[in-house]
Amino acid sequence: MTFKYKNVYINETGTVVGPYEKEGPLVNYFDKSYNDFYFNKKTFEQAESKLIEDSVDIVLDKLDKTRFDIDLFISGDLLNQLMSSNYAASTLGIPYFGIYNACASSVEGLILASNMVEAGQIKNCICSVSSHNNTAEKQFRYPVEYGGPKPKTTTFTTTGSASAYLSYNKEGIKVESATIGVVKDLGIKDAYQMGAVMAPAAAYTIYKHLKDTKREVSYYDLILTGDLGSIGKKILTEYMQTEYNIELKNYDDTATMIYDLENQDVYSGGSGPACAPLVTYGYIFSLMKKKKLKRVLLVATGSLHSVSSVNQKLTIPSIAHAISLEVVE
C-alpha cells in the first residue's frame, strides 16, 4: 500500500542519546546526550520516559511553541504496554496515540501523522520513539549486570529518543510518499539474529515502493534501512538481487552508522526503535539541508517477537515501513 503526500513536512526534530551513542561517530549531530543510564530517575523505565520528554521539549523549544499548540502526540517504544511512551504522554498532556511495530515504530508514526496532516484532520503532530539499552536487555534478554556471552549476530539496543514535528508548513523536509509494509516470516527463530529476521520484510517493502511509484533504485540518493546490522545488510543486498532482481546502490543501514563498529563493543550494530530516526533526524537531515542528499527512502524494520513467542520456539515475523523524504526546493 503506497500513497503520496502533497502538503506534509517535517519542520523540526529533536534527538537525545545515552553514553554509548555519545562515543559514536555521529555525536555532533545529536541535540543532547547523557553520560549515564538513569538521568536522575529511579529506574531505567522512568529514565527512558524522560528521554522522550526531553526530545519533545527540544522540538518545542526549537519551534518556540508550547505543548498546548500540539494537536497530536504519537509515540512508541519496546517496553511491555508501551510503558515509557505512556508516562511521557501523561506528563505532556497532548492527545496521544501509542503505537507498536518494534523498531519500525518510528516510520509507522510518521505515516499515521502524515495521513492525518494531509487529510487536514490535525494541524500538526509530534512523533516520538524511544529505546533504552538496559530496559530492552531486561525485558528481552538477561539482567543488565549478567555477563553471559552473546553471538556476533546480536545487535546492541540504542539508548535514545527522537522526535519529529510534522505540519503543512512548507519548511524543513518534505514527506513525499510512504509505503505500508507486509509482515514477512521466512522461518528464522533466532532472536539474536534480527537482521536475518527483518531483511525479507525490508526487501519486500523496498520492492513494493519502487513498483507502486514506478521508480528505479537510482531515483533515490540514499536508501536507508534501520536497523539490520552489518550482517543483515549483506543478507538484504543479496536477497534483493536474487528475489527481486534489484541491485541496491546508494544503500546503507543505520545500525552500522550510529556506532563505531570497529572500536565499540556493539556486535553487529545498533537496534531499537530510536536507532533509525536518531541517525535520520540527526545526520541524514543535516546532509539533506546542505543539499548533499536530495531524496532519501527511509525503511524502518521491526522484528515482531516477544519473550513468550521465542520461548515457544515460534518463527519470528517481521515488518518494514518505508517513507520517502525530500529536500524542500
Binding site: 555477563g147 553471559g148 556471552p149 553471538p151 521466512l186 536477497y239
Partner: protein, 146 residues
C-alpha cells in the same frame, strides 16, 4: 524465496563463533579458578586453624562473596563475558546470575520484584541440580549399594 533457501543465504553471512579460542580461554580461566579455590582452602586452614578437609565451605562462601561483590560493583559482567564458561560453570557464575537478577528487580519490590525474580536464571540450575542429584544418587545406591 523458500525458507530453506533463505536459511542457506543467512548461514552464508553468519560469522562463525571462535569455539576453539573460547574453549581455550574458558579452560585456562576455569583451571585458574581451581587454583584460586585451592589457595583459599589453604588460606582458611591456616587462618582458622582447622583441618584442610573442612575448608571447602569457607572457600565456596568466599568465591560467592567475591562474585556477588564484583557483580554489584558493576564490572563482573565484562569479566564473565570474556571468560565465558571459565567463570559461569564455577560457583561464581551461580552467584553472578543471582546477584544480577537481584540488582535488576530490586526496585520492583522485595516480594514481587527481588523475591520473585532472584532465581530467574539460577532456578533452572537448582531444579535440575536437585533432580539429577536424586537420579544419580539412586543409580549409585542400586548399582554400588551407596
Amino acid at each position: 524465496m523458500e525458507k530453506n533457501k533463505y536459511n542457506y543465504l543467512v548461514n552464508k553471512y553468519t560469522p562463525k563463533e571462535n569455539r576453539l579460542t573460547n574453549g581455550v580461554i574458558s579452560f585456562l580461566i576455569g583451571g585458574s579458578m581451581g587454583v584460586v579455590g585451592e589457595l583459599l582452602r589453604r588460606l582458611w586452614s591456616n587462618i582458622l586453624d582447622i583441618p584442610l578437609k573442612d575448608t571447602g565451605t569457607y572457600m565456596i562462601i568466599t568465591l560467592i562473596f567475591i562474585g556477588c561483590l564484583f557483580t554489584a560493583l558493576g564490572f563482573f559482567d565484562n569479566i564473565v563475558n570474556f571468560a565465558k564458561a571459565g567463570l559461569i560453570v564455577p560457583i561464581t557464575g551461580f552467584a553472578h546470575s543471582m546477584q544480577s537478577a537481584a540488582l535488576e528487580y530490586r526496585n520492583e519490590g522485595l516480594v514481587t520484584g527481588l523475591g520473585a525474580n532472584i532465581f530467574k536464571l539460577s532456578g533452572t540450575v537448582i531444579l535440575y541440580g536437585v533432580v539429577s542429584a536424586y537420579v544419580f544418587g539412586l543409580i549409585r545406591l542400586l548399582l554400588f549399594g551407596g
